[in-house]
Symmetry: C2
Subunit: 278 residues, 2 copies
């Protein structure tokens, strides 16, 4: 890669003011570098929702919570995204975000909705209750190389515990994955990148069943436990991440994920509900 | 209680069509029976967001995911709530919900936003991965009686493991609570009641620090793993519920909760991020 070129994640995050009366409406486009099986990688879409907020001139504070609902697979190409601060309090701000694309008839249709809370965070008592598993980064761990989908090639993943079934033999197991991960090429961590990393797990239902079935996230919620300064301290270091399903029932399952920095500080906790077939 | 009277939860859930061109806009009012320290119990507010969706004439399917953002403490009295199906697919539907109240100047201001996904759920392979702790309901367990806030008196809570610190001595511990709970008076379980029960935990930060500090939920996300038929089977039985914090940092902590029926089937998983001071 040309070291002077823009990082593919920064390319994916590019938003241009749509103009018009309302601040916070932007034009963007899906990024082939983060292509998924159908539409773009949902992590990039979640990051874009956050990016639309972070670029808003009225932003108060830093991200605390983000929920992204995938209403439809995004079509490859341009989209419009609007972030609105619906309520601004003394130290917290509540956001709604809507992403639309022109459907085949030319009418705008909603492909994603999001809500977020940003806040000015203050010094308080604090503590982590969920300890990082007792692991240390070992660069000798082999890198997971999947040929598809394309977005998996944008992440350097070093698997500590089961990302992909050993055999597609339909033998049931648990759905726990643990791995070290970071952007590839390496990139200094920020909130949009962290929002995307929270979605960088293989469908739990594939791992649990050792069977590939159609599956796709319908909603993801991420809580941020770090300041931008704490993310800057991570730089382009690895995060330790784990994810596990809780219940698989009638076409939907949920999973919970946690991401720590190398020193064992929890940076984000994330939850999602995923559609699956059969 | 007069057995012919309406259950207080049903009273709290009453919404009246606001009329006008748009279906899905309703008028309601906060319920003193579910009063909290400031404003009403957030569980009731979350349930009201779901109720506005469930009453909508265009509803498709049953709840899968619900995110509720508390933008401001509700004032005691009337509110307006609007539920909009922003995208309807073949088997899933995406919703946005906004609750407004007149502020002192008479202008409408947003007090709550929500998003939800409903879906027609089909028979598929399924499994619970998160087992219920090895407990059985024991009616000899003493009922937790708090004199305030008022909403706690609307729930029958039988504590298995630490709801309230033994002493307010500032001694730190973990924040795990386990209890059996159901509505009081008993009431057949439905989706709004389950959404409310997911919020029926004491602030984790109080338990963790054995210190009372100002605290309030800013956002809650609940995933539903049961059909209305499965909820009807529970009837007015107890649910086993647990909640635990994960990270407490710079004025916000998150907690994750799980609710099982007596037979050990996971009915809902729920996550929230909570503001705290000091």
């Amino acid at each position: 890669m040309n070291p002077l070129a823009m990082h593919p994640f920064d390319q994916a995050m590019r938003l241009e003011a749509a103009g018009g009366a309302q601040a916070g409406t932007w034009l963007g486009a899906t990024s082939p570098a983060y292509g998924n099986m159908v539409g773009p990688f949902g992590g990039t879409t979640a990051a874009t929702a956050l990016q639309a907020i972070l670029l808003h001139p009225d932003l108060l504070g830093q991200p605390v919570a983000l929920t992204v609902n995938y209403a439809a697979a995004l079509a490859a190409g341009p989209f419009r995204i609007a972030a609105t601060p619906v309520r601004t309090n003394r130290s917290t701000q509540h956001w709604t975000v809507t992403l639309t694309q022109a459907d085949p008839s030319g009418a705008d249709s909603v492909a994603m909705t999001a809500t977020a809370v940003t806040a000015v965070r203050r010094e308080t008592w604090g503590g982590d209750e969920l300890p990082m598993p007792d692991v240390t980064m070992d660069k000798a761990l082999p890198r997971l190389m999947l040929s598809t989908p394309e977005w998996t090639r944008r992440y350097d993943m070093r698997v500590v515990h089961r990302m992909v079934p050993q055999a597609w033999d339909g033998r049931e197991s648990d759905s726990l994955t643990q791995l070290w991960l970071r952007d590839d090429p390496p990139r200094a961590l920020d909130f949009p990148a962290l929002a995307a990393l929270c979605d960088a797990f293989y469908p739990r239902v594939w791992l649990r069943r050792a069977t590939r079935v159609p599956a796709g996230t319908v909603s993801i919620t991420t809580y941020f436990h770090a300041s931008s300064a704490a993310l800057a301290e991570v730089g382009d270091g690895y995060l330790f991440a784990q994810a596990r399903g809780q219940a698989f029932r009638n076409g939907f399952f949920d999973q919970s994920a946690q991401l720590w920095n190398e020193a064992g500080h929890l940076l984000a906790t994330s939850h999602q509900v995923v559609y699956y077939k059969e």
